[in-house]
Symmetry: C2
Subunit: 424 residues, 2 copies
């Protein structure tokens, strides 16, 4: 921390103080007011579509000059339909059930005390993200919905786009009479600002949510002096049990691997029972190969199928995020569970089986954030779970696990009503 | 970390590996087995009462030789009734509802997926505590109940007592056929072991729970590289609203301050409405003075009552943990809320009022872990909340807040059942 420039410290201290002050107001704000703010922000995004796209052109030009990879450029790029989708996303968050103030539990004590557990906002959330400018709107919206104030720190590549989007979110806050400081964006790309956000703002920031690649997450995990809700790798497995329906197995494996290969819920390893290899392998392999997927198989698979290449030990621990799948033949469900427990990242795993006992065994014994029976791992997503949106998928077990939506951005307080009880 | 001795690192690595291995077994263990283990541990504590007391004598003698403060000696001291209470506590934890496997939410998606949220253990919990040997039994029991394995690190003063108690807990595990390593105690008082537990065991430990004084908590918060569920100060307030019933106000203030002054739920500051000063002050002050409490009042209180001494600004931020109370006269509920929001530690606050709107206002606007209406702050306790026992009271807002019992030592996983759904 000794290397952080004093002007950045001053800047960040100001942001922190304003965030904390706004949090106190937001925590007491009416749900209707937050709803109104979100709708107004969604309107503002649409109304300022041209300015957002113009700002995005600046970012894209700068990125091209820096020879950014095509996949990064694609994440950065906005067009009219993406701005519309962003606005629509904010509106969807507005329509979610308001989590703040929900009574999640209530009980009566023998001495007459009535105890309620009531949801409250966490307070101030710091979001550190990379090139996707839409996170500015998504994260701002989810935090506002859940009564939290947010300090946004986007990637330098998307700085102009994010700044313009941020302006629209603030316009929504203003329209609803909410404090502008409820959604702040750090107005500099200086890396010291991230350093201070992680290590110097314990008094202002309640939790940090990093959203990006491995390097970002690793830096946040190592430097943060406040709690982090983050996700590490998504090394997801599909296990085809001997009782699996062939068509389901084929369709789910294909979808889990190939629908989108670059997302954390994409399958990386296929485990298949020895007992159904003769009946099931051909259909699954044909579908994968036809879709352009490379198969890295163990010796049994390579013996069976000349299209497969030999897998290495390191493959079992590799999140490809590409059109590659590692395949292992297992003797039984125990060996499949053992493999996943050893090599998995605790994100998402699926079993394909018609035998309900096998499914229950798998769902019970494994401890990943999401376990699916006869469904694709690509359902690992807040929207698909019905949460409306997500700020990320947590692979840790503290606080939130799996998709992190508005509800997961809350804590709770206990409200206890008595009639003069004292403790004996 | 570079200063940690290699033999300690080896010791701790072994403990971590065994804890992780035991966690995998425990997570799949049947509730009945954990119940049996707890009952057997409770039996063992009773059966070995004499050995525990003999070990305690050693600790007490060493502490006396070191001139430990009487309050610390009292925390350290065991007698037959305290051992009985410890055994009884373990039995009570056994009788709690088992949180593991509980389905806390379930919903159906339009595509037919059925999503359940199911409680699971956190994994491995590290507990760092000080002189009270009974924490060995309490914490061990709560972790076992919730399916977690635990690494216990007690204070050096209570080492012999804790080691003997730990032996009884392990006997319970053995009797139930559970892995002995489910409850481990670090078999050395070397401080390097704490250092390594905090900073070097990210691969083995999921969360650290410190239980002790400010210095311990501060060290843990600053050095831990894994999540911490901790409690900072308990700077608790009682606010007497002008509508308060005089007897309730007197009884609750007296109890909140004086029942036990050394616990975190003890009140430190009394706020009283100017409008009821003439009617309510005398009764409250008489009760406090009679019980031996020093009153540090603001200028209005000192003017009114010659028994009060003048309060300093620093008093408003002081957790006395003694028979001292600071008293401020406030103009109205807004000023009371403002004072608590500024000076409180977010632990526990009470309002004494007959006016239900005033109570709702207070309970709604303040954001402490526990807010009480017409009841003593000394109810801030897992047992009093009906949780059976607690491992501590969390003042942070991430993961758990307020009393931390067996349920709060769990996370969840999502179990999703489909019929071959793929994502479009």
């Amino acid at each position: 921390m000794n290397a952080i420039k004093t002007d950045i410290i001053d800047l960040m201290e100001g942001i922190g103080q304003r965030a904390r002050a706004a949090a106190a107001i937001l925590a007491r704000s009416a749900p209707e007011q937050r709803y109104e703010g979100l709708c107004a922000a969604a309107d503002s995004l649409l109304a300022h579509s041209e300015e957002i796209l113009a700002a995005n052109v600046k970012d894209i030009q700068a990125a091209q000059a820096k020879d950014l990879a095509p996949s990064l450029l694609d994440r950065l790029l906005l067009d009219e339909s993406r701005v519309q989708a962003m606005s629509e996303g904010v509106r969807q968050v507005a329509e979610l059930d308001d989590p703040v103030g929900q009574v999640t539990d209530e009980w009566l004590r023998p001495n007459g005390l009535v105890i309620q557990r009531v949801r409250v906002p966490l307070g101030v959330i710091g979001i550190i993200y990379e090139s996707r400018p839409n996170v500015t709107a998504d994260a701002g919206a989810l935090c506002l919905k859940s009564g939290n104030t947010v300090i946004l720190r986007g990637g330098s590549e998307s700085f102009h786009s994010s700044t313009t989007i941020h302006g629209c979110m603030v316009a929504g806050l203003q329209k609803a009479g909410l404090p502008e400081d409820a959604i702040q964006m750090i107005p500099t790309t200086d890396r010291d600002a991230v350093g201070y956000l992680l290590s110097g703002m314990q008094n202002y920031v309640d939790v940090i949510v990093p959203r990006g690649g491995k390097n970002l997450i690793a830096r946040v995990q190592s430097d943060a002096r406040v709690p982090v809700i983050g996700h590490l790798e998504g090394l997801c497995h599909v296990y085809v049990h001997e009782s699996a329906d062939i068509n389901k197995a084929r369709d789910v494996v294909l979808n889990a691997k190939m629908r989108r290969t670059g997302i954390c819920g994409a399958a990386e390893t296929l485990l298949i029972d020895r007992a159904c290899l003769d009946t099931h392998w051909q259909a699954i392999a044909d579908a994968l190969i036809e879709a352009g997927c490379e198969i890295r198989g163990d010796s049994k698979i390579c013996e069976l199928d000349s299209r497969a290449v030999a897998v290495n030990e390191a493959d079992w621990d590799t999140e490809y995020l590409e059109a590659i799948i590692s395949v292992r033949v297992v003797n039984d469900i125990e060996q499949a569970i053992e493999h996943i427990a050893t090599h998995g990242s605790g994100h998402t795993e699926a079993i394909i089986a018609e035998d309900p006992d096998a499914a229950d065994h798998f769902l019970h014994d494994l401890d990943s954030a999401i376990l699916l029976h006869n469904a694709s791992t690509q359902f690992a997503d807040g929207g698909e779970f019905g949460m409306g949106a997500e700020i990320g998928i947590a692979t840790g077990k503290i606080h939130a696990r799996g998709p992190v939506g508005a509800e997961q951005l809350t804590s709770y307080k206990y409200v206890v009503r008595g009639t003069g009880q004292i403790r004996s």
